[in-house]
């Protein structure tokens, strides 16, 4: 089984969010970066489990500059076989998807894994876009996958329930909660990650179709109105008369 897992760099979930360059760019100074949780906990770990059980290889792919290397090494420490980094600073999801597709097109991966969304862009767009670029089927929000030869069977979240679907041959999936349990890399994994191949490839000229003109932080929240624990009726009154919400 030849699997490709899309891994992106995300700010640690407790990071302070700030912007620079006239609020056009995320301020990375002092920010700790992690593997995007959906990519690590769900997509990567499940891909590794499949290869452990059935043989094959797990390659990770990342579109980004050298500041992504530490999180790529982390993915290798968790158990990926090798890694590819496409050296670019993408500004939108279509650019990421086209670069990944251009790379993956002639490499016949059986399944391309991605996360449900990045916790910084929250687009939920890249995997569907890769599928379209490569004319592959796409299964969104997978919570489980079993592979039997060239037939894959998956459960995935759909509006108001769970779909059970099957696909023959190659396809793209986005992984979400339920797919796998988080794995902490062990010492051997961390040591071996240092020598696993990380190939850097040049980005071919792919231009973005959208651009962020300005980031804005939300306005500060007003004070919380405290209500006495014995006075539930007062809370109900406030919700009705002041907040006009019930």
């Amino acid at each position: 089984m030849k699997l490709l897992v899309c891994i992106s760099k995300a700010p640690d979930t407790t990071s302070r969010i700030a912007f620079t360059d006239g609020d056009k760019r995320f301020d990375e100074s002092g920010v700790q970066f992690i593997v995007n949780p959906y990519d690590e906990w769900y997509a990567l770990v499940r891909a590794i489990e499949l290869v452990e059980a059935q043989g094959g290889s797990v390659t990770t792919i990342t579109v980004g500059d050298a500041t992504c290397d530490p999180i790529i090494r982390k993915a290798l420490a968790i158990g990926a076989s090798d890694a590819v980094r496409i050296d670019a600073n993408p500004t939108d999801s279509s650019q990421v998807a086209r670069l990944i597709s251009n790379y993956a097109n002639d490499k016949s991966y059986d399944i391309i894994f991605a996360g449900k969304e990045t916790i910084n862009h929250n687009s939920s767009a890249v995997p569907a876009m890769i599928a379209e670029c490569m004319d592959l089927p796409y299964v969104a929000l997978a919570t489980s996958i079993d592979v039997d030869g060239d037939l894959s069977t998956l459960n995935c979240e759909s509006t108001g329930g769970t779909n059970n679907v099957s696909v023959k041959g190659s396809f793209v999936l986005s992984a979400t909660k339920g797919m796998a349990e988080q794995r902490i890399p062990n010492m051997r994994g961390i040591m071996s990650a240092r020598t696993k191949p990380l190939t850097v490839v040049e980005a071919s000229g792919v231009t973005a179709t959208t651009e962020v003109s300005k980031f804005t932080l939300p306005p500060a929240k007003g004070d919380c109105v405290m209500v006495d624990a014995d006075n539930a009726a007062e809370l109900v009154r406030l919700l009705r008369e002041e907040a006009k919400i019930i």
């Binding site: 910084n120 569907a128 876009m129 023959k168 009726a233 109900v236 919400i245």
Partner: protein, 309 residues
């Protein structure tokens, strides 16, 4: 110029998300609104009443997003659409990006308010910031965050035409569907009211008081991540940075500390109520109304007070 909206129906009527998307499209004020409806449709599906002028009905039931993408492209071409609008729910999010790539145009997901020209506002960093995004192509594809715009009625009736297109072969086969909420409550991403509980509830056997409050309010239940991880509640109820992002009108947090990763999924709620024994719980800083108290005492009282309305 015209706008195409992709609409899902339930028993022939546009879903709540569908009506919201149509309202949004109408109020963009950039041209007539045409709705593409795959699947069952009765009458105009209620779409005329939110400003849709024409419905293109594709009667076959299709579930494969690559086929639905081809269908949308054909419909967009037939009405020469300059904007194509989806609901940012699971289905919309799997079709819309494909359409944008196939048409080689810009895509903006998770739009939360009406655009200014071709500049759209969306949430980023899990709700900790917003971004204004310019689309550089002539045509744009967008998806709207559910429950961010609302349904605005608009007098009128839509004409209905049968639509057909070559949508290619089905490659993802749907074997079955298992509904998650059999209690008839609104799915979490679309819910206007949510009652959510965390580790403060002590164990899954105590969820009755949460469900009672939710029932009295007509709300949907949610939970914090540890509660989902421990199996006290199903995974699909988990909200936060690594779970669902929701923006209900009312979010009541019971026995949840308000960790930054939890807040990321709920801080766009219009009104937040926090019930927690610890006055120092960080959640109070993000709340509009708070009660320092024990959920086991407060929740039943609150449920009673609501029933008395």
């Amino acid at each position: 110029m015209s706008v195409l909206v992709y609409i899902q129906t339930q028993e022939g009527k546009a879903t709540k998300a569908g009506l919201e998307v149509a309202s949004f499209a109408k109020n963009m004020n950039v041209g007539d609104v045409t709705a593409l409806v795959p699947g069952t449709l009765s009458g105009d599906g209620g779409l005329g009443s939110v400003g849709v002028s024409k419905v293109l009905h594709f009667s076959e039931g299709v579930t494969d997003n690559s086929q639905l993408s081809k269908l949308t492209q054909a419909a967009a071409q037939s009405v020469d659409a300059s904007t194509i609008v989806f609901s940012g729910n699971n289905d919309g999010n799997s079709i819309a990006p494909r359409v944008a790539i196939a048409m080689n145009v810009g895509y903006v997901s998770g739009v939360t308010c009406l655009p200014e020209g071709k500049t759209f506002t969306r949430n980023v960093f899990s709700g900790k910031a917003t971004a204004a995004v310019n689309v550089m192509s002539d045509v744009c594809v967008i998806s709207i965050t559910p429950n961010s715009y609302g349904i605005k009625s608009d007098a009128g009736e839509a004409s209905v035409e049968t639509f057909s297109a070559d949508i290619g072969a089905q490659r993802v086969v749907l074997n079955g569907f298992t509904p998650t909420s059999n209690d008839g409550s609104v799915p979490l991403p679309e819910a206007e009211r949510v009652v959510s509980a965390g580790r403060g509830l002590k164990g899954p056997e105590n969820w009755g008081i949460v469900e009672d409050l939710a029932r009295a309010l007509g709300a949907t239940t949610a939970c914090s991540r540890p509660v989902g991880d421990m199996g006290w509640r199903p995974h699909h109820e988990h909200v936060g940075q690594t779970g669902l992002t929701i923006r209900p009108d009312l979010y009541i947090a019971c026995g949840i500390s308000g960790a930054i990763q939890h807040l990321a999924g709920v801080n766009q709620s219009k009104v937040i109520v926090v019930i927690n024994t610890d006055p120092e719980a960080p959640f109070f800083k993000a709340a509009d109304y708070g009660i320092v108290g024990d959920v086991f005492e407060v929740l039943p009282k609150l449920t009673e007070a609501i029933k008395e309305l």
